[in-house]
């Protein structure tokens, strides 16, 4: 039993994880070592393994805001096999939905080495009726009070994207954002206007750096001028833009400050920067090494070192 006071300053070392090879559920421990905090686990079949999860200041123990559990009211799944095998969500979940993602296509017009979503032309896009049913399900599960992100694939490859946005707004969703690489926003001057007219609130723009060297390394293509044109077109139609860099060690972690400065130069159209350190989904010949990861405190340190914004101003999630 922890007291209210304790859980703002400490957390248990014990947690659970999965085996990367057989997905068996494993006991895991957060272990503090000289180099940082590691997640340590051992599969009876595949042996011991450890991964860096926290490197440097602020101290992991301070990075928590005590809060009461706030799970969803409606559970579409019962607890049967245990976390994370009953997602849907189950009664064991402690947070309601803040943002619901809809993957409205698997197609993409940019084939990146770093990508969350598989993209392929073989799978047909879901029709508008199907998407209406998805919105309806989200509304039923969450009471409607959540933000929507339309994602993919690359959602802007759909010519009916304005209809999809308008449908969500009509169904009562207050905030709809499109997650995009910006290619179509840059190439078709009035596309931003059509999305705005449909009710789009915000563009979640993939933005990995401020020069083509970074774009070439991560996306295999020169994209800086395209990103800038996409932002200019959003400005013409008053669409809010959030810059979203995927941070990869040695590729763009030196541009954290430049990305912030670029964002500020384009403020207020650019509403903020949302960093996403690289994570490893998909097939890998060997496990990613600790040098392949940027942990949260390293992002905060990078911000302090490269912009002068003090680390103390950043807060853990509420």
């Amino acid at each position: 039993m922890t007291t209210d006071k304790e859980h703002t300053v400490a957390f248990p070392a014990h947690t659970q994880s999965l085996c990367p090879y057989c997905l068996k559920k494993l006991s895991a421990t957060r272990v503090e070592k000289k180099a940082g905090v590691f997640l340590v686990k051992e599969c009876p079949e595949h042996g011991p393994m450890e991964t860096i999860i926290w490197r440097g200041e602020p101290d992991m123990k301070t990075w928590t805001r005590g809060k009461t559990p706030a799970g969803p009211e409606i559970h579409s799944r019962a607890v049967e096999k245990g976390c994370p095998f009953d997602c849907g969500l189950c009664p064991g979940h402690r947070q309601r939905t803040c943002t619901a993602l809809l993957e409205i296509t698997w197609r993409c017009n940019l084939h990146c080495p770093v990508c969350f979503a598989d993209s392929g032309d073989a799978v047909p896009d879901p029709g508008l009726d199907r998407i209406r049913a998805w919105y309806e399900e989200i509304r039923q599960c969450t009471g409607g009070g959540c933000n929507i992100q339309l994602s993919g694939g690359e959602p802007t490859v759909r010519d009916d994207l304005p209809e999809i946005i308008a449908m969500g707004k009509e169904m009562g969703f207050g905030f709809i954002q499109v997650n995009t690489n910006g290619l179509r926003l840059a190439q078709e001057g009035d596309f931003a206007g059509r999305l705005k007219q449909a009710g789009l609130d915000s563009v979640f723009l993939q933005f990995d750096g401020v020069d083509d060297q970074v774009h070439l390394a991560l996306r295999g293509r020169k994209l800086q001028a395209i990103k800038e044109r996409a932002i200019a077109n959003c400005r013409s139609h008053n669409l809010g833009v959030v810059l979203v860099p995927t941070l990869v060690p040695g590729v763009n972690d030196h541009q954290i400050g430049d990305i912030i400065r670029f964002g500020l130069e384009n403020c207020p159209q650019v509403r903020g920067v949302h960093f996403q350190p690289v994570s490893y989904f998909g097939r890998y010949p060997k496990p990613p090494g600790d040098a392949d990861r940027i942990t949260l405190p390293q992002v905060i340190q990078g911000l302090e070192d490269q912009t002068g914004i003090k680390a103390a101003h950043f807060r853990p999630p509420g």
């Binding site: 999965l18 992991m60 809060k67 009461t68 799944r77 943002t99 609130d201 809010g240 903020g272 949260l296």
Partner: protein, 152 residues
Amino acid sequence: MPDGTLNPLTRHQPGTELENGHTGASKTIDFTARQWASPLVKENDDQHPRETGNRVIRESGNTVQPTPGFSFQPMAFVSSGAGQPVDLDMFLSRLKTHMFSISCMVFQDVWNLDLERVRDCCIHVLSPDGGLIPFCMYNLTDARGRSLYRKT
């Protein structure tokens, strides 16, 4: 403000009181919706209709697992800079239009996966077959690229 310097609006104070998780989630949803939306829009609730439904706030007196956060959600705005008198009207006007947010989310993969964190996840993907799946679980694959949830 016009000279381009930043004035922070947030600060992390460890050891503060226990928050109500439902209130925290609502604040996050509303802050994101306001901050990430188009600028120069008057703060008029009618422009952001929001259906909250009849959710019951559950107060919980149970033990709370203090899971470390792996994201941050701060904000800063363009200030008048050091040495200049702060004009309150200017300050308030810039606050409405020139607030700038800096945030970060560390996704989990099969190697650094911490199931205590998963239970606190609030970004969910709607599976085409139904059900809201925490983002990292939806995208999770084993070392050979086989998905836990996503159907390929």
